[in-house]
Amino acid sequence: MVNEQEIEIVAKLMKIEIDDHKEYIDKVHAMIDYFDILDNAGVQDEEISMKDIPLSNLREDKHIPYEDKLIERLNNYKGTYVRAPKMI
């Protein structure tokens, strides 16, 4: 069972500020409770793997400058920088 405090910690981890705590927590709770059925799937012994491709399918190491001045399309500061908030 998941408690309210845990969900608040997660919201902070995900950098999400929420107003309507109760409303979010109830719904998220309901969802997580539903996930408990995974316990019955009996899949402990399965191994995780993924599709693989040969090394030769990958991109050739070549420098191709981007044709556009991308920074001009972004939120820029003093022309060439991106500005971030204070880092304490």
Partner: protein, 467 residues
């Protein structure tokens, strides 16, 4: 016993492009945010395009560190928010679903000491933050993403070091090794960084992060050992924690806070399939790997009779060993090794000097031949080399311009010998009694000819005169 482990980050600076996009891997000469594209800036809809050569080079590093190399490698996401991380996750490697990092367990020797390697992984470097404003109140954080996505190899060691000296030796060896592989230029600013963990007998492991240079790394380890020993002697427990190196005050500071307790939520990067590096490919890479430093050294000693110490110096620096390889042949090898290690190294001892210097391997070849054929003396060769490095001019031209050619005309040398004999009657007498001292007179002749007289001829002529 003190135990020290390292996490070394090394950029593959010699690659053309970044790990997941075609932007330049060596970002150093760019204006802020001009070496970026939708992929490395993480624009929505962009996908990583893995660089084949980055995998190959990282794999070579793993092989050179005697690591196991799995046949399939996987990439993971390490999730955390930071402004230098355009996607707010870093694509990296991990061994949670079996050994899927580019390199597994390995080792490298530091003298007689075996340092075990835990793993080698390939990942992307974040961008760079620049802080403007003096106080924390008016601080502005600026972000330059030129570095974001630069291929980075992380090498993690077991805590096998016992003191900072071993750490330094290991880092030197590693740095030479990376350079020799042609994957990186460790002398570039920020190309090699390291974090350390330190524990003393009876204490917990403490990690030190945020260390700017290898010089500071040694200091940080020293500081940390002293700090921990002091705590221990006063019976204060040493807590397991992460500490930051304070560059200004040269101390470590506890970084423990709620915010630091990150949960990276590692999981597989679905945009990159697992990469198959089968046995054939591994064998090909092994073959393509440049000769190792120790093998080069052995070869220089056994094949050319170069003294072990000279061979050691020559083989461990890629720049010089490449020069040697390009210029030597069976006959002149020893001479060239000699020119490089006694004269050239002093002339181009910094990166800038190397870049500005004008000499080529051809020059070295000609120089060695000139010495061996008696065209110029060793001494003159040194002066010629200085001029070559500066101007890049032809050796013959330099010999002519600076009048460095040997005086091998018998009559001319005889004239000078006669002068010397008349000026140094005592020395002549002595030489008659004790032939060993004739060298003094040879030296005098050399002085008068500014080192250009053929030494062998001079000696023969002198001997005849004095007999």
């Amino acid at each position: 016993m003190t135990k020290i482990g390292l996490e070394i980050h090394c950029q593959l600076t010699n690659l053309e492009s970044k790990l997941f996009c075609p932007c330049k891997a060596n970002y150093r000469e760019y204006e802020p945010n001009t070496n970026i594209c939708p992929i490395c800036i993480g624009l929505p809809g962009s996908l990583p395009r893995l660089n084949q050569k980055a995998i190959e080079k990282a794999s070579m590093i793993a092989m050179a560190l005697n690591c196991s190399t799995p046949e399939k490698i996987a990439f993971f996401r390490k999730n955390y928010f930071y402004p230098d991380l355009p996607k707010n996750f870093q694509i990296t490697q991990l061994n949670i679903y079996g050994d899927t990092s580019i390199g597994g367990l390995g080792y490298t020797m530091v003298g007689e000491k075996k340092i075990r390697i835990t793993r080698v992984q390939l990942e992307e470097d974040p961008g760079r933050l620049i802080y403007e404003g003096s106080s924390s109140k008016n601080q502005t954080t600026l972000v330059d993403y030129n570095r974001a996505g630069t291929p980075l190899v992380e090498i993690v060691t077991e805590p096998d070091f016992e003191n900072p000296k071993q750490v330094r030796e290991f880092l030197n060896i590693l740095s030479d090794l990376l350079q020799n592989l042609g994957v990186s230029d460790p002398s570039l600013e920020g190309a090699m960084r390291a974090d350390a963990n330190v524990s003393i007998e009876g204490g917990n492991k403490v990690e030190i992060k945020n260390i700017g240079s290898f010089h500071d790394l040694e200091k940080a380890i020293h500081f940390e050992i002293t700090r921990q020993e002091s705590l221990y002697s006063r019976n204060i427990p040493i807590v397991q924690e992460t500490r930051h190196w304070d560059d200004r005050r040269k101390i470590t500071i506890s970084a423990r806070s709620k915010e630091e307790e990150l949960d990276y939520r590692y999981f597989l990067e679905g945009d990159i399939p697992w990469i198959r590096i089968d046995k054939d490919t591994q064998e090909r890479l092994q073959k393509e790997m440049p000769e190792s430093i120790s093998s080069k050294k052995d070869r220089y000693v056994s094949k050319y009779g170069i003294p072990a110490q000279v061979a050691d110096v020559l083989s461990s620096d890629k720049f010089y060993s490449d020069l040697f390889e390009q210029s030597h042949n069976e006959k002149n090898a020893k001479e060239i090794a000699n020119i490089i290690t006694t004269d050239l190294m002093g002339l181009v001892d910094t990166r800038e000097k190397r870049e500005q210097s004008k000499f080529t391997s051809k020059h070295l070849e000609e120089l060695a031949d000139a010495i061996q054929s008696g065209k110029i003396t060793r001494n003159s060769a040194k002066n010629a080399l200085y001029e070559i490095v500066k101007t890049g001019k032809d050796l013959t031209q330099i010999i002519a311009e600076l009048d460095l050619g040997n005086v091998s005309d018998e009559s001319e040398i005889e004239k000078i010998i006669n002068e010397v004999i008349s000026q140094e009657p005592q020395a002549v007498e002595q030489a008659k009694k004790n032939p060993q001292t004739i060298n003094y007179l040879v030296g005098k002749v050399m002085q008068k000819t500014k080192g250009k007289a053929d030494p062998k001829l001079t000696l023969d002529l002198l001997k005849n005169k004095i007999k």
